[in-house]
């Protein structure tokens, strides 16, 4: 298991590079208003290169507004060596056809997993035992558990895919390894829903996306609905479920996948701010071995 740290801004990234993680990711996974400046992207690449860490650039869903900047950034990275490009938008995948030096990596927004639903009890419909079992079996699969869909991405050079830490899905992840995909599993935060009408910005009264001062780099929120008994984390424009990896799940995934990348994100909910915090987290994950 390799641990990779994902950072959204340069301040975080500098700490990540110094830590004992094996790879670093830079960029915004969910929000196009947080796409880094091109200069900072170049600096991040150099820092990772100097530290001898595997570098990947993460891109979110892209609107027409952010397309030009993203294209310029891909042009820049295409001139570098060994850069992974995590794409969460089909337009970016299309652009990658013209950037042959970049290694396409399927982002988790393009992988549909019913079990991201926070009320998985919906699988317990009032039907017979066999039907319930059948529903549950499908519920914990992913859209990549279609050999046709995997083939579609393999034909476009994709060899890696991002997934979430959902233990009941692990057995279905194993077949993706057999299909030829290397897997990156995001620990702790599973996305439940995401918007372009940013929930954080609206809550804080920010009005202009172009001039958003990105409070979500430092602020996150806990959301609770007592009737439903659910607890979410709101980070910027995305709502997550938090789930802590447990030793038995770690053992299960290691047994099923043998080799995979565990991704940890630096954000206000994880409270990972510096190298020390990252190293402590990696040590605690290593303790599961």
């Amino acid at each position: 298991m390799r641990v990779t740290v994902q950072a959204e801004n340069l301040k975080q990234f500098k700490e990540a590079v110094l830590s004992k993680c094996s790879g670093v990711r830079y960029g915004s996974e969910f929000c196009e208003w947080k796409i880094p400046e091109t200069e900072s992207l170049e600096e991040a690449y150099e820092l990772a290169n100097d530290a001898g860490k595997k570098f990947s650039y993460v891109t979110p869903r892209i609107s027409e507004t952010s397309l030009r900047r993203t294209r310029a950034q891909l042009d820049l990275l295409d001139r570098k060596e060994e850069v992974g490009l995590v794409f969460n938008d089909l337009g970016v995948l299309s652009l990658l056809e013209h950037h042959l030096n970049l290694v396409p990596h399927l982002g988790r927004q393009l992988v549909f997993i019913p079990a991201r639903c926070p009320w998985e009890q919906i699988t317990n419909l009032e039907v017979g035992f066999m039907a319930r079992r059948s529903v549950a079996e499908v519920f914990y699969q992913t859209s990549l558990n279609s050999s046709r869909t995997v083939q579609f991405y393999l034909e476009r050079g994709v060899r890696n895919a991002d997934l979430d830490w959902i233990p009941r899905c692990f057995q279905h992840y194993a077949s993706l390894r057999q299909a030829g995909l290397d897997l990156s599993i995001h620990a702790y935060l599973t996305p439940v829903t995401s918007t372009r009408r940013c929930h954080t910005a609206r809550f804080l009264g920010l009005e202009d996306p172009e001039n958003c001062d990105r409070p979500c780099f430092e602020k996150g929120f806990r959301l609770k609905n007592q009737t439903l008994g659910i607890d979410f984390c709101l980070l910027g424009n995305t709502v997550f479920r938090y789930s802590e990896p447990r030793a038995k799940d770690m053992e299960k995934i290691r047994r099923l996948l043998h080799e995979f990348e565990l991704v940890v994100t630096m954000d206000p909910v994880m409270n990972l701010e510096d190298r020390k915090g990252i190293d402590m987290l990696i040590d605690s994950l290593d303790a599961f071995r």
Binding site: R61, I62, S63, E64, D89, L90, G91, L93, S94, Q109, F112, R116, C117, P118, W119, Q121, I122, A131, V135, V138, Q141, T142, S143, N145, S146, S147, R148, T149, Q151, F152, P191, V192, T193, S194, T195, R196, R197, C198, H199, R202, F203, G205, E207, D208, P209, K219, G220, F221, R222, L223, K224, N225, T227, L228, F232, C233, L234, V239, P268, V269
Partner: protein
């Protein structure tokens, strides 16, 4: 949409219908209930026949964003049965499903579902190369962005105008609407729109744990866009989509009638009449699930317009002033 709804919508002036048939994948309608589907392939056949007799096209949604090998056999059978009914196109939202359809009938016209979350012309052109003749855009776009996509794409573009203007990116939203009794109960307590995204949440700062009050913080639900119709038509989009196949017939019929009338006025350059009519409509009672409602109250005054600025917050007035002020103060202090 049921057969009766289809008849009414066609009479009200729709050019195209989209509908679905209850899937043979038993008990797996997790995302939406099955109540909005045509219940049999025979009902689809009757709908298609009626529509074609009136010069209206029928599109079938084959767009669950998910097609694992485990359910492929059922999917294949379903699509085959739909194609037998002489439908005009399939709406597809998954590459696995696309592959199955191409194998069954490579010539069938295809529409790219909003499940592809198309938000730029690169995506639209990518989908065109895969065989789609029309791309339905994600809801969360501005009119200038739509205009740019239409100009830069070599494929027809369709946009949403009325009905379920989801608060979140549709395909990335896992707040499934149905079949969870506690959710049904929680939604019962809500006024207005009853979706999981409109629920109220207790909000706390994730670091300090400080309670910041209670608000429907995920509610960015939009509903209407009649005021923006001239600008949308100007962009050159090929289709304007009214969401409501699961709603009651009066909604389907009434809404279609309103949009047909307004589009006719725009086509005839009767600008003043258009504006007068829009103004009248805002003050009249229109069908709105689950009842009739005054459009001004449910949409305009709450800012539930599809094409409002992206960061507009319909719920803001519901937040208590002391809580909001307190939080703003804390936030400004933090940023110093």
């Amino acid at each position: 949409m049921r057969f009766q709804g289809a008849i009414k919508v066609i009479e009200a002036g729709a050019d195209e219908l989209y509908c679905d048939v209850e899937m043979p994948i038993k008990h797996f309608s997790l995302y939406r209930g099955a109540e909005h589907c045509l219940s049999t392939y025979d009902e689809l056949k009757a709908t298609v026949r009626y529509a074609h007799d009136h010069g209206v096209k029928v599109f079938i949604t084959a767009n669950m964003p998910f097609a694992a090998d485990r359910i492929e056999k059922d999917w294949r059978e379903h699509i085959l049965r739909c194609l037998e009914q002489d439908i005009d196109a399939l709406i597809v939202g998954d590459f696995g499903v696309l592959s199955v359809i191409k194998e069954i009938n490579p010539g069938v016209p295809l529409l790219a579902s909003t499940y592809f979350a198309s938000m730029n012309h690169e995506t639209a052109n990518f989908l065109r190369k895969l065989g789609f003749s029309r791309v339905i855009l994600e809801r969360h776009l501005t009119i200038p962005e739509i205009s740019q996509i239409v100009r830069s794409s070599q494929v027809e573009i369709e946009v949403f105008v009325h009905g379920a203007g989801c608060s979140n990116i549709n395909v990335n939203c896992y707040l499934f609407h149905y079949r969870y009794p506690p959710l049904t109960k929680a939604l019962e307590d809500l006024d207005g729109f009853k979706n999981p995204c409109t629920l109220r949440f207790q909000i706390a700062d994730s670091r300090t744990k400080e309670a910041l009050g209670e608000a429907p913080v995920l509610d960015a639900f939009t509903f209407c866009s009649i005021c923006h119709l001239p600008a949308l038509v100007e962009t050159g989009v090929a289709g304007l989509k009214i969401v409501g196949r699961g709603d009651f017939v009066a909604f389907q019929e009434g809404t279609t009638k309103v949009y047909r009338e307004l589009l006719n006025l725009i086509a005839q350059n009767r600008t003043e009449e258009f504006e007068t009519r829009v103004s009248d409509l805002k003050n009249s009672f229109l069908p709105r699930p689950p009842m009739f409602a005054n459009l001004k109250e449910v949409a305009c005054e709450q800012g539930r317009c599809f094409y409002n600025p992206l960061f507009h917050a319909p719920y803001k007035r519901q937040l208590s002033w002391p809580a909001w002020l307190k939080y703003q103060f804390k936030f400004l202090e933090h940023r110093k």
